[in-house]
């Protein structure tokens, strides 16, 4: 089922909130919404491009050199994304610094190639990449929104609270990233725990604890 390939990556197997992959960029670049968005879009592009290409060549690539080939494909898309960002949004490109180039070593991307794209058809692989890419992007945007609103008192650079608001600078520094990520993880597991409890039929005998 194709929609399931998408939804799985966004929610049930969200790369950051469930698989806990890609935490390095999640913590490092989410100090503003604009940075989060650029990082999310760049990763989304690399993931979709790589998944389609890997899926296309999956029967041609011998097993022994498959990882090298995947990394080569991923690195190519990352370099293209890097150049495109520098040409289109130089300010954001400067703010993201080395983290664009480091998408190459983002486990989310190689993970999807190994676990999915190298074994499935092109259309399913694209759907899977779209799901995981959106899952990553949404998580980054959540982090970025919380941190920028509290830490800089603005959203996408637009001041929200007027001059009297003293920005909670802690939130745009690294500790604020850890705190925000922790709270998001807490919310996600709390939600899942509640769903599981609701799914268990009321009055049914409890499993032995």
């Amino acid at each position: 089922m194709k929609t399931d390939d998408v939804v799985r990556g966004i929610w049930r197997e969200n790369p950051v909130l469930v698989q806990l992959l890609g935490l390095c960029p999640t913590l490092a670049v989410t100090n503003s919404v604009a940075n989060s968005l650029a990082m999310g879009v760049a990763t989304f592009f690399v993931l979709c491009g790589s998944s389609v290409l890997v899926s296309l060549v999956r029967k041609l690539v011998p097993n022994a050199v498959r990882i090298s080939t995947f990394i080569l494909i991923i690195a190519t898309f990352v370099s293209i994304a890097d150049m495109a960002l520098e040409a289109l949004v130089p300010g954001v490109h400067k703010a993201l610094g080395a983290f664009i180039a480091l998408i190459v070593v983002n486990c989310i991307i190689l993970g999807r190639q190994e676990a999915f794209a190298s074994r499935n058809t092109v259309s399913r692989s694209l759907m899977d990449a779209v799901g995981s890419g959106f899952g990553f992007m949404i998580t980054l945007l959540l982090m970025g929104a919380v941190r920028e609103v509290l830490g800089s008192g603005s959203f996408l650079g637009v001041p929200l609270f007027g001059k009297s608001y003293e920005p909670w600078v802690f939130m745009i520094l690294p500790p604020g990233g850890f705190l925000t990520l922790g709270l998001l993880l807490l919310a996600k597991s709390w939600w899942h725990a509640r769903q599981e409890r609701a799914a268990a039929p009321a009055g049914a005998p409890k499993e032995a604890a």
């Binding site: 050199v65 090298s68 610094g97 745009i172």
Partner: protein, 193 residues
């Protein structure tokens, strides 16, 4: 190993040709992307530099690059063709990574015209104030060599940022060292006219 039986090994030729093919495709894609984006990137960089030079020389009518003691500086001229000063780019390690600044200098009065931070990764909320208003203002018309002062007050000297002493000192140090190197040369240049 107890895993499933390994698939039959491919011939070395097959492995090499696969990687070579993937490499060639990657190279081709990179060249296309580079060709497509390069002019825009170069134009952006030139535009950024131009804006920075105009800003630190207080909007001269025109400016032109000049090589002084092996370094590239930008000489600014007013509408009458009189030289108003030089814009100098210099860098040094700050609190986090390299800080790169451009500043305008007038060798006649030995005062700064302006300062702008081109690159810095100083701590957000503390060190990054070196890029912002009150601190940048301190450099306009400041007497060189620069001296950092704490606690503010009137008079000469750069009022350093509370909580960002290292970042403040870095900027002051970059400018002082650049002028130690270039100041005398620029003064001689100026004397010659």
């Amino acid at each position: 190993m107890n895993g499933p039986p390994a698939p039959p090994a491919s011939s070395p030729g097959r492995l090499v040709s696969t990687l070579a093919g993937a490499g060639a495709l990657a190279g081709f894609l990179l060249v296309v992307a580079f060709q497509a984006t390069q002019p825009t990137i170069a134009a952006h960089k030139e535009e950024m530099l131009k804006r920075a030079v105009l800003e630190v020389l207080r909007e001269p009518a025109r400016f032109e690059p000049l090589d002084v003691a092996g370094e590239r500086v930008y000489a600014g001229y007013d509408a009458a063709g009189k030289r108003v000063g030089y814009a100098i780019v210099a860098a040094a390690p700050g609190f986090a990574d390299t800080v790169k600044v451009i500043f305008g200098y007038d060798p006649v009065t030995r005062r700064l015209l302006g300062m702008k931070v081109l690159e810095s990764k100083e701590t957000p909320g503390l060190g990054d104030k070196i890029e912002q208003e009150p601190f940048v203002r301190e450099f306009e018309g400041a007497m060189t060599p620069l001296a950092g002062v704490k606690g503010g007050g009137a008079g000469e000297g750069i009022d350093m940022i509370t909580g960002a002493t290292i970042s403040s000192r870095t900027v002051i140090g970059i400018i002082n060292r650049a002028l130690e190197r270039l100041g005398p040369v620029l003064e001689r240049e100026e004397a010659r006219g």
